[in-house]
Symmetry: C2
Subunit: 236 residues, 2 copies
């Protein structure tokens, strides 16, 4: 198995929409599928970023915690890092950067990851506050979020790109999480400006979609009345 060309995903974004927010995989089990990734905890408990096998959580109080192997998640992406240099860029907005990455990588029809290290400015992130059962919908739960901003910060951005065809299973386009080098700031990225940084990417030929088949609420849920893609794009 060419592990470096596989993106593993536990859960689908679609199951978050109606509020199937139970943690259905432990961090210990997730880390058997990679060393780099992003995700969220049970009840949308913060924003996760995994770097070099170490799982960080940016909680709704803004604190950055390292989570234990027993921490559970309804949704996560992970892979074994082997990034290739793509570009060294200066003074670009998030939208410009995303466009340049798709154009340079020529990988818009497959899954890939992007890693950006450097100096960022006007970084805006969010972290959702953990909700308790009975869970509400994604849209309702995501309203309880904190927004964090930094004028200038050194750090690492990990993102995943999913092709349009898989919208619903994943967010079509980019999904970025950030962690500051000082481990005091991070979260799900809403906006940023890259002052200067190294952009690398890793292309996948395999998308390994793992579903929580042992979760009865998931298996019995009627998805036909959920407006999956609209809800995802509103919340994300």
């Amino acid at each position: 198995m060419a592990k470096h060309t596989t993106l593993y995903q536990h859960g689908t974004l679609a199951l978050l929409v109606p509020g199937l927010l139970k943690g259905t995989m432990t961090m210990g089990d997730l880390l058997k599928h990679g060393d780099t990734g992003i995700g969220t905890g049970e009840g949308l408990d913060g924003e996760l970023i995994i770097l070099n096998g170490k799982p960080y959580q940016v909680a709704a109080d803004g604190k950055v915690n390292v989570v234990p192997d027993s921490f559970t998640m309804p949704f996560a992406n992970i892979h074994y890092a082997r990034y290739l240099p793509l570009a060294e860029l200066e003074n670009v907005s998030q939208d410009d950067l995303n466009e340049q990455i798709v154009s340079l990588s020529k990988a818009g029809n497959t899954f890939f990851s992007v890693k950006i290290t450097g100096t960022f400015s006007d970084v805006k992130t969010r972290a959702v506050r953990k909700s308790e059962p009975p869970f509400h919908t994604l849209a309702q739960t995501a309203r309880n979020q904190s927004i964090f901003t930094r004028d200038k910060v050194d750090g690492t951005l990990i993102g995943y790109y999913s092709p349009e065809l898989f919208d619903g299973a994943a967010v079509a386009g980019f999904h970025h999480h950030f962690l500051a080098d000082d481990r005091k700031f991070g979260g799900h990225v809403l906006d940023f400006h890259l002052d200067k940084g190294e952009v690398s990417y890793q292309l996948f030929d395999t998308f390994e979609q793992h579903l929580p088949v042992n979760d009865k609420r998931y298996m019995q849920h009627d998805f036909s009345s959920d407006d999956i893609t609209e809800s995802i794009h509103t919340a994300e």
Copy 2:
């Protein structure tokens, strides 16, 4: 790796729609991911069914061939068989059977395979005639198909069920191929009546989607103007 709970798929149905029909994986490589499956050859060259590791092709001339390891495909599903008994049924139509399978298995929100062995009547199948490059669209290519029927036949049906959410990557709902015990009849199933048979199923928690990232025409194709789901459901 729990191999028996993984469904491997090479290609996506969506790439067939605009006519990306090049064979991008060999049968030899496909068989590294399972012993049971379905698929089609380059240029929609017939209908494939893999039983006990042996790959049969029902060609447009109606003949059943065993294909070599060098045979290439744009699309295929494969897994390692470990079916569980679901029901022994008599005198049911295809639609009734499909409904009963989803109801009994309670697996409608995940991928699963179904295997039916027994006596069938009024079986109607099709096999597409291989087209040569430059390939036309799925709808145009699939017009060159042969329809075969049998009043009464003993055989094996292999089907895959995909949840609605993954429509486009796979056919949402069931996709059945058939092979007669005498190896003289088979193909993509359009209709059948089950006189008497054993129905077994195999549930997957993992959908391993492999994409032809080394095929430049695939990677450079603009899917935004293809009406993916409508074309698939017209052709399938």
